[in-house]
Amino acid sequence: MSSHGSPWDSFDVAIIGGGMVGSAIGFGCAERGARVAMLDEGDVALRAARGNFGLVWSQSKGDGMPAYAAWTRQSVALWPALAERASTLAGRDVQYRAVGGLTFCLDDAEFAARQLFVQRMHNQGQEGLQMLDRHQLRELMSGCPLGPEVRGASYQPADGHVDPLTLLRGLQAGMRAAGGVHLPGASVESITPIAGGYRITRADGSEVSARRIVIAAGVMTSPLAKMVGLDVPVRPVRGQNIVTERLAPLLPLPASAIRQTGDGTVQIGVTSEDDGSFETATTTAALSRMAARALRVLPVLAQARMVRSWAALRPMTPDGFPAYAESRTHPGCFVATCHSGVTLAAVHAGRLAEAVLTGTLPEHARDLHPDRFVGMTHVSSH
């Protein structure tokens, strides 16, 4: 589908990026009555949304960045409503289950370290997060064949999980249902200010003009942000995933790095390989380590067949926290990047979409401005 010369070539908002972040914002804008175009690359784009683990997760978010923690909690609170809408729009249950979430500890040292982390998060305002010892864990998940090495876990009752691919489908279907246009198949080459807005030129020669632009291009954010005068350093961090065949119910609660999906498959993740490479091949070395740890949690999985593995690139900022900004030199041009597109989908489709239309970033998002990266070297990811 080409927009060239069609009556659709001028939009209220053009979203650059059809991943989880772009689709949520695009859906939110369209739903608020804006005419939205979502520009996307082709079938094999470096899509973090495809590598997402599907956790709706607050327990590990925002250590040292209270604004991010609060922003996350806000999104988690809005998730039930989003899940219902996305399921309707996708024509299929997005399988959102806020059953609580775990981070397993496989020995005393892991347990002690996690305990310290939980205390720290508690002191920064996270409520409900607690440590469970093995006995409490077994009570919480009776019948779950936990391995003998499982010492305990941190537990956040508000956390949960979702099928991220059905969510993505629902968001995109919702954007279309609200009159939005999806233009996949070409990358963006330039952004030029014109009267009343901007003109976007794409690699296939097509042009799209819009009053406002949101750059939500994941690992490709940096060069695009530069086009509108924003400096947003983002580097790719590879995450490898394993999925098994469908299994009978086994693990009732999702955990960091292992969860049983609503379809019965067990997903094991996710490596965090920070080598700057844009390569998305899987490696046997990494997959075997992931499998070995999963078997320490659930030894019965040794007989389960893995059916798929893949790697995706997640966008990582220097401090690992999201970045939101409106350009000072190019008013109406926004950037939004994070590696928690699923958890934050509810605020992206809500308050952030509203902000794009009104021009005022909400509290918390405002505190996540990329100006903070000036002079910062790459540090750990969160």
Binding site: R50, L168, H182, A291, A292, M306
Partner: protein, 465 residues
């Protein structure tokens, strides 16, 4: 050989032994057997991994159990297998390769344990797989592929009997009918779905095809033999019906009782492994309507050290496959310094002439039997059998903006099951192309990733250092 002893030991439960070989050959079909035999003749150490229990691949399956060979195909196969057995190549039956990593590191599973080896060079001879022929009801028990029935015939002497129907098109369908009838089998009928006008389309390629007239002659003889014994119904529309198992087929709306329906729509290169290798490019073959790895005249791919021979590089049949196996092995010998470039060229010259002759009828056959159009697949037809995804749902995904198989997979789960898209891949790809109204080459196929065969987490975890 000490290598063999160590592997044998590993089989008995010791830790897998990492070893190095000059050449690793994947597959013991005609291409793999011939490649291994040729490579051994030039002094290379050769390891052959094959999933089956005995050499032969699909075309010569279980050939050693049918000695002395009676027909031409078995004679070819028996000769290849005997030379291969005598070649001194390390042969690992029941071995499933599941990863090829940089620097020739290869992983496979055997008897429930994962192993690995480092190979200077690889010749991948993964053969062909049947192109799926999705029709409404093809998931019912009692519907199988013609290739499956041929395996049952070759390995256990099972012949069709009762309300058995063959449907689709292509040489293998007629060959199976001949083989089954010769063994005393009975076939209720053949539903010929080949698009009309085959001979007219193929005629421009006749002269070239006559360079190897035995192919055409054989095809005519097969059809004549079969048509004498079995009714052939030309048709456009086929459905399978039944409750819990196949009970009848509907041929252009006319019902016939059926307890076994065998489908066939030609074969496509098996690219499951090559597509997973980073940097290994593939191109769309618009005539055979399939993806094939980009190869030079020797079988070199875009990735140094990785070669492809036989049908997995493009459909050419068993004899052409064996010749490309030998040609690839000569090039491997040159690359490894076992023979000079002149020796390679001298030995390969006659083989290449022979191969050209074997490939001569291809265009004729391809024009005779173009793959059935995916646009005609009814919406309610299941494409992805594992995840039970219909053609209609794939078309919905295209309407939602999916340009290729990968985003379609994300939105529909098509290709996410244990077969890893092996069965549905060509059909999902074709339905997307037809729905978008573009050529197949413009639609990205399923991206495959290692492990390219499902293995247990236990096997995988055992490799963790």
């Amino acid at each position: 050989m000490s290598v063999a002893d160590e592997w044998t030991a590993a089989k008995d439960g010791a830790a897998p032994v990492a070893e190095k070989v000059d050449l690793l050959v994947l597959g013991a079909g005609p291409a793999g057997m011939a490649a291994a035999t040729e490579a051994r003749a030039h002094g290379m150490s050769v390891l052959v991994l094959d999933e089956n229990a005995a050499p032969g691949g699909q075309v010569h399956r279980a050939v050693e159990a049918r000695l002395p060979a009676k027909d031409d195909q078995d004679k070819d196969g028996a000769k290849l297998a005997a030379a291969f057995r005598a070649s001194g190549a390390q042969y690992r039956p029941g071995a499933t390769l599941w990863a090829v990593e940089p620097e020739g590191k290869v992983f496979w599973s055997e008897a429930g344990a994962a192993r690995s080896v480092r190979a200077e060079r690889l010749i991948l001879c993964a053969g062909a797989t049947e192109r799926p022929l999705p029709i409404p009801g093809w998931t019912l028990p009692g519907v199988m592929s013609v290739g499956a029935a041929q395996i049952a015939l070759k390995t256990s002497g099972l012949v069709p009997e009762g309300a058995v129907w063959l449907a689709g098109q292509g040489p293998l369908l007629w060959l199976y009918a001949v083989q089954a009838l010769a063994k005393g089998g009975r076939i209720a009928g053949i539903v010929d779905l080949s698009p009309p006008g085959g001979l007219r389309r193929a005629q421009p390629h006749l002269l070239r095809a006559l360079k190897a007239p035995e192919y055409l002659w054989r095809g005519l003889v097969w059809q004549r033999q079969v048509k004498r014994a079995v009714q052939v119904i030309p048709a456009r529309d086929l459905r399978a019906e039944g409750e819990g198992r196949l009970a009848r087929i509907l041929v252009d709306g006319v019902a016939h009782p059926a307890d076994l329906l065998l489908l066939h729509d030609g074969v496509v290169p098996n690219t499951q492994v090559t597509r997973a290798i980073a940097g290994l490019t593939h191109g769309w073959d618009p005539v055979q309507r399939c993806w094939r790895p980009g190869l030079d005249l020797w079988g070199n791919t875009a990735v140094p050290g990785v070669m492809v021979a036989g049908d997995s590089g493009g459909i050419g049949g068993a004899r052409a496959a064996a010749l490309s196996g030998r040609i690839a092995a000569l090039e491997a010998g040159r690359a490894l310094g076992r023979i000079t470039t002149d020796e390679r060229d001298g030995r390969a010259g006659p083989l290449r002439l022979l191969r050209d002759r074997q490939l001569a009828p291809r265009l004729f056959l391809d024009a005779m039997f173009p793959p059935l159009p995916e646009a005609a697949i009814p919406d309610e037809t299941v494409l992805c059998r594992c995840e039970e995804v219909t053609a209609g749902r794939v078309r919905q995904a295209v309407a939602l903006g999916c340009l290729g198989a990968n985003q379609t997979k994300a939105f529909t789960r098509a290709g996410m099951g244990p077969c890893q898209g092996r069965i549905c891949g060509p059909a999902v790809h074709g339905v997307i192309a037809a729905a978008r109204g573009v050529q197949g080459g413009e639609v990205d196929p399923f991206r495959t990733r290692f492990p390219t065969k499902p293995l247990t987490l236990g096997e995988l975890a055992a490799l963790a250092g």
